[in-house]
Amino acid sequence: MADQGSYLHLARPLPTVPVPHQHATTAPLNVTIHTQALFSILDHSLRRNMDQDRVIGTLLGVRSDDGTEVEIRNCFGVGHNESQEQVEVDMEYHKTMLGLHLKANPREVLVGWYATSPELNTFSALIQNFYASNGEGTFPHPAVHLTISTNPGEDIQIKTYISSAVGVNPDRIADSCLFVPVPHEIRYAESEKSGLELIAGAKNNEDRSTPVMTDIGALEKAVEDVLGMLERVSNYVSNVIKGDAPASTAIGKFLMNTLSLAPKVNAADVERMFNSHIQDVLMVSYLANTIRTQIDLSGRLATYNFSPKDPLAVAPTVASK
């Protein structure tokens, strides 16, 4: 990875005197990216203007107390213009949007910014220094810079950096910094699991869309998944036994652990538990349906027109339920 771009952007000449510039800590940190932020960035990248190569935006999230863990939870795009010699970022827009976001999500704070190209250049350094600055930026914590490559037909590369100051001459301090790559991982919240599963289910469809599943449908899918996995494992095991595949101690241990989890239960106990539970379930379901019928009946009786014009025309059809 490291050979694809250079992380260091220096403005010559290198000075000999240390620059008295206060800079954020550059302690290593772990970055966690929530899928929602990633999706949002990709959406923004799709909606960029025709003449733009990349778009940038602000990352929001939470930071642990000691500042070593950063979770990127949310983001929004910020307009910017780039030309050969200068870059303009719509700061007014950034401020307004930040204010609006903080209103709805008071717990999230500014953590950094993203760009949708893997390239790091002088402008990156300039913007990075703005986001890391004292006052409006993330100071004293480092600002996280996330790059994501969105070239069609290529893999999506996600990288995260923090920056540290490098000693260059004072006039160029604003557009120089050293980007330090930091590790990141992609994570999703427990509550997003079912949504994400459904979204992932559409990835092999031609039209890239999928209907919402019912509970029974989800159950069916889960059972099929498990069957597929069992199949895969048993294939692997039989291959190992035949000597076609290399054996692995780690997998063996996992299988042992998993198999030992199967409970041994007393037949009578199971039968008793099963019966009592199934009775509960069916009883509740029966009662619920009875209630539904009653309510239906009550609703119809309340609004039924008792004038003797045509009693059969609107006769309640509750019995068919």
């Binding site: 929602q36 990248s45 827009y93 709805a104 069609p152 509550s191 509970d215 692995s248 309510i295």
Partner: protein
Amino acid sequence: MADKLNLGPLKSVRVDALVVLKICKHASSSHPQIVTGQLLGMDVEGELQITNSFPFPSTEAPVSDEKDAASGAAAAPRAKANTYYQTEMVRCLREMNVDANSVGWYQSASLGNFLNTNFVENQFFYQSSLNERTVALVHDTARSTTGALSLRAFRLTPQFMAAHKEGKFTVESLQKHNLTYRDILTELPLTIHNSHLLTNLLHQLDNPAPAPLTSLSFSTPMPLAPNFDALDLSIDPFLEKNCDLLLEAIETHYSEVNNQQYYNRQLAREQAKITAWQAKRKSENQLRASAKQPLLPEDEWQRLFKLPQEPSRLETLLNSKQIEQYSKQIDAFTASVSAKMFAVNQGLPRTEE
């Protein structure tokens, strides 16, 4: 706007993956409190494409009114205080080339308990004033964590809109509009849509570089690990919760029915009084007529007696719909859980005594 009306009714709703996740996140971040937000997108030949969304901040309700505080977020879509936030947000998003048309709003719910006056009022507000072609998305947080994602799109029916415009839900108006609790909402089919880039990302997340086997561990699930929540066999909490909700709804129903009966009794009593008065006046007039005195007016009862106000049936309607919803939910649950239980019962290895 006029040409839009000729397009016929909305047939389906397409939600972008981004919106699904945004709603999930917003809803779970303040669960079990209800949250609401704005949906943005556009209407393409009867299919409503929802491509972005943003949450509404929960408005700070006046401290004096406790009931208001609870419904602060629920009423947010209509709140005056939010107008500035909404327009500002839409303006900002438009600059980022987002489809900045309001196409509806979303709300979170827990076990389907979203049918209340607030919900109807909100959707009425959207459907009547802003843009007729809007939907309400309901994300059920509690159900989504125990199985399949529950995200549904609703619209108010034209009958209900007509009845609501008149502003009263008396027995008479229900009969006139032929409105029962089944005709309050229509559900639209909903699909989830991914962009090309997203499909790319998903494929990549699904095929990560193989980790060295020695560092395998159960504790760190990979992104997009298969989700087996649907196989979970916890029955009692769900049933218990549902029964509670059902009982609560029945209680509401009961009190509404009592109100109605009280009204009917009151009405009958007043009417009896009026007939008695009319009979008295009539006989008095007959006496006066025979005594050649001027007659007393016979329609004075309208001033003397006041008929009681008929209670609104809206609450009953919504409550009935809510009960139906709970029952259907229980039905669906029974179907899947009994299948699971039989499977487990067969599959467990047993020891003989």
